[in-house]
Symmetry: C2
Subunit: 408 residues, 2 copies
Amino acid sequence: MITGILNGLRVIEVSAFVAAPLGGMTLAQLGADVIRIDPIGGNIDYRRWPLAPCGSSLYWSSLNRGKRSIALALDKPKGQEIARALITQPGEDNGILLTNLPASGWMSHQQLSKHRRDLIMLHLTGNYDGSGAVDYTVNCASGFPIATGVNSDPINHVLPAWDIAAGLYLSTGLLAAERARRRDGQGRKLTLALSDVMLATVGNLGYLADVQVNGTVRPPLGNDLYGALGRDFATKDGRHVMIVAISNRQWHAIGNATGLTDKFAMIGPMLDVNLNSEGGRFEARGAIFALLENWCAKRTLAEIRTAFDDNGVLWGPYQDFGQLFSEDNRCSEKNPMFGWIYQPGAGNILAPGSPLNVVGSERLPLQPAPILGQDTERVLADVLGISASEIGKLYDAGTVAGPENQKN
Amino acid sequence: MITGILNGLRVIEVSAFVAAPLGGMTLAQLGADVIRIDPIGGNIDYRRWPLAPCGSSLYWSSLNRGKRSIALALDKPKGQEIARALITQPGEDNGILLTNLPASGWMSHQQLSKHRRDLIMLHLTGNYDGSGAVDYTVNCASGFPIATGVNSDPINHVLPAWDIAAGLYLSTGLLAAERARRRDGQGRKLTLALSDVMLATVGNLGYLADVQVNGTVRPPLGNDLYGALGRDFATKDGRHVMIVAISNRQWHAIGNATGLTDKFAMIGPMLDVNLNSEGGRFEARGAIFALLENWCAKRTLAEIRTAFDDNGVLWGPYQDFGQLFSEDNRCSEKNPMFGWIYQPGAGNILAPGSPLNVVGSERLPLQPAPILGQDTERVLADVLGISASEIGKLYDAGTVAGPENQKN
C-alpha cells in the first residue's frame, strides 16, 4: 500500500468554502486522514457553483478530495458529543481540529480542551478581532485591484488568492503546532485572520515599506511588469502571449528569437539607459514593446511558440480555462500530478493531486471527494469504536446520516 | 526569551525572488533558524524594485525578515564546501535545504546526500519537467487573466499569487517531510513546480471539472462575483466599495442597511427567481445592482461605512496601497501582527509578522531582514565551529564576506 508522508496524522475538519477545506485537502493529499464533519444535509458551501447537470457542486467536490465525510446533527447534544469525541480522540497523531466556523459553545477551544488538554486547534477568522471578512472584502482593501488595469478604476482578480494563501498558512501552522506538541506535549490554539494574510502579503512584497519610505503608491501599469521587462502582446491569429525578461540571458534570448537584437541595441543610446539592467529595460519598455508588438502581430501563436522555445525565451501563451485543458500539455495525464478519478456527480474526470512531489516515491493514488456522509458508518465504527447496534440507533434518531439519507 | 513554535528547527535556504524566500520567512517567523546563503554581492534578487532612496531593495528586505545571512563564494570549491557543511550539518533539527536555484553539481540532492543520508531537500522549479517558468508566464496560462475584466482581453493580476502559494506549499511540504523523517529516519527530496501550483489550484477551485463536465468556460464578469451576489459600486465622493452577500443573513443585512428591502422584494416575482438563494441572487444581480448603484452614488464612503457596519453588511472599501496604510486600522500597530522594526536601508518602518497567531503566547519579536553577510562570522563560528583564525583566512581568501565587504 502506498502511503503519503503524512501517513498516520489525523485531522478533524469542520469547515466551509475555500480556505479551511483547502488546508485540509493539502494535508489529505500528503497522506493525512482528514475527516470532514458536516451537518446533515451539508454546510453552506455544499451547493456552490459551478454545478454538474445533476446539481452536484463541482466546487465542493474539487476542494474536498481525499477526505472522509461524516454527517452529524450538530444542532443536537448527541451530534455534538460525537463530533467532540472525534476531535479530542486520544493518541499522539490525533486531537487536531481545523475550522473556519464560529467555534463557540461546545466547539470552543475552552470547552474542547477540557476533553483533551493538548488539543491543537486551527481557527480561521475574517479579521483579527474576530469580525467577518471574506476574500472579496479583503481583496478590495488590499491595494491590488486599484493597481490592476490601466487606470484607477478597481479591477478584482478572479482568483480567490487570499483564500488560497490562507489555506496554505493553515496547513503550515497545523504541522508547526503538531511538531511543537510532540516536543513539549502542549496543545495550542492558533488563529489566522484572512485579512492578516492579505496584510502580511502586501507587507512581504515591499508595498508597505515603499509607502512608508518613499511615500509612493505603485501606479496601475496595465499588464506591464513593474521594475522589469514584460507585457502581453496580440498575435496574428487573435491570441495573446506574455513575454518576460528578468535576467540578461532572458533579455538576449528575446533578441535572438525575434531577430530584433540590432534594433534593440539602438534603444539604449537613444533613451540613454542601460538595457543590460532590469531597471533600464523597465524604463525603456515603451520602445522595446513597440518593436515586439509589431513582431508578434505578424506571426501566429504557433510560429511564435517555435521561435521562442528554440531560443529559450521566458514566455507563455494566454489561455482560457478551456484552452488550458485542451491545449496545455502540463494540464494532461502526461503530467504525473494529474490522474483520472470517478467523482460521484461529475463522472470520470482528470484531476490534480498534490503539487508537492516526493521524488522516488510513487504518487499517492488520487482520491475523489466523498459523497456527504459517505464515511459516517466507518468513522463511527473504526475511529470511535461504536457498535453496529448503537450506530443503528444513531441513524434512527437522526443523530447521524449516511449518504442515502442526504438530499443529494 | 520568547521562542516560536518552530524553535530549534534549522533551515538552510539558497534562493532568490519570491516563493522560496517566502517559504523560508514563513518558517523563520514561527521561530525556525533560517540561514539564507547568498553569493558574495548578493543574488539576482538583491536589487529588485521597489528601492529605498539609498538603493537598498525594499522587496528583498521585506521577503527575508527574521533570517540570518551568510555570504559565500559559491563559485569556488571552498565556498561550496562551507555551504555543504551548513546544509548537511548533523542533528535531528538540521539537514534541511530549501532552494529554487538549479540545484545541480555540488548542490544536487545526489551529491549532498552523500554527506547526509537523511537530507531533506525542497526544490522549487518552473515546470514539472524542470524547464523554466515564472509567476507571469504561469499566470497567463491559468485562465484567470482572460476571466478578469469585462471582455476577453487578458488582464494580469498584480499580486504574484502563484509565487505566494508556492512559498506556502514549500513551508507545508518542508514540515511534512521533517515530520516523516522523525518517524522513519528517511531523508527526502520534494519538488514543487510553480506551474503545478497553478494547475492544482485551477483544478481545486472546480474550473477543470467545469470544463470537463459542462464543457463551459466561465466568462469574464467584470467585478461581479460568480454564482453569488457581489460587485463594486462608486460612492458620491469618488471612492469605491465592494458589497457581497453569500448567506441569506448577509443579503437581508443589505436591505436593512439601505432601506431597499421593499424594492428588492419586487425583483423576485418580476424576474421569477428566488432571492433567498445564492444562485437566484446571482441571476437577478442586474436589477439588484441597479438599485445599489443608485443608493451608493448618493452617499459618501463615510456614510456608507456607518450604515453598513451598523447592520452587519459584508462589504469593504477599495483602497490603494497608500490608503491601506493610512486609513485601515487593521494595517496599524493596533493590529498585534504589526510592529516597528529598524530595517537597515529603510529606517523605522511598521512591518507585519506571521499571520499565524498562537493564542496565549507572546508574539515573537519582529525582526528586520539581515544585511547581506551580516551573520557570516557568527554562523561560521557558532554553527560550524570554525575558529577565529580560520575565519580570518576565509575572509582574506575571499571565500566568505561579512557586511562590510558587500557593495551596499
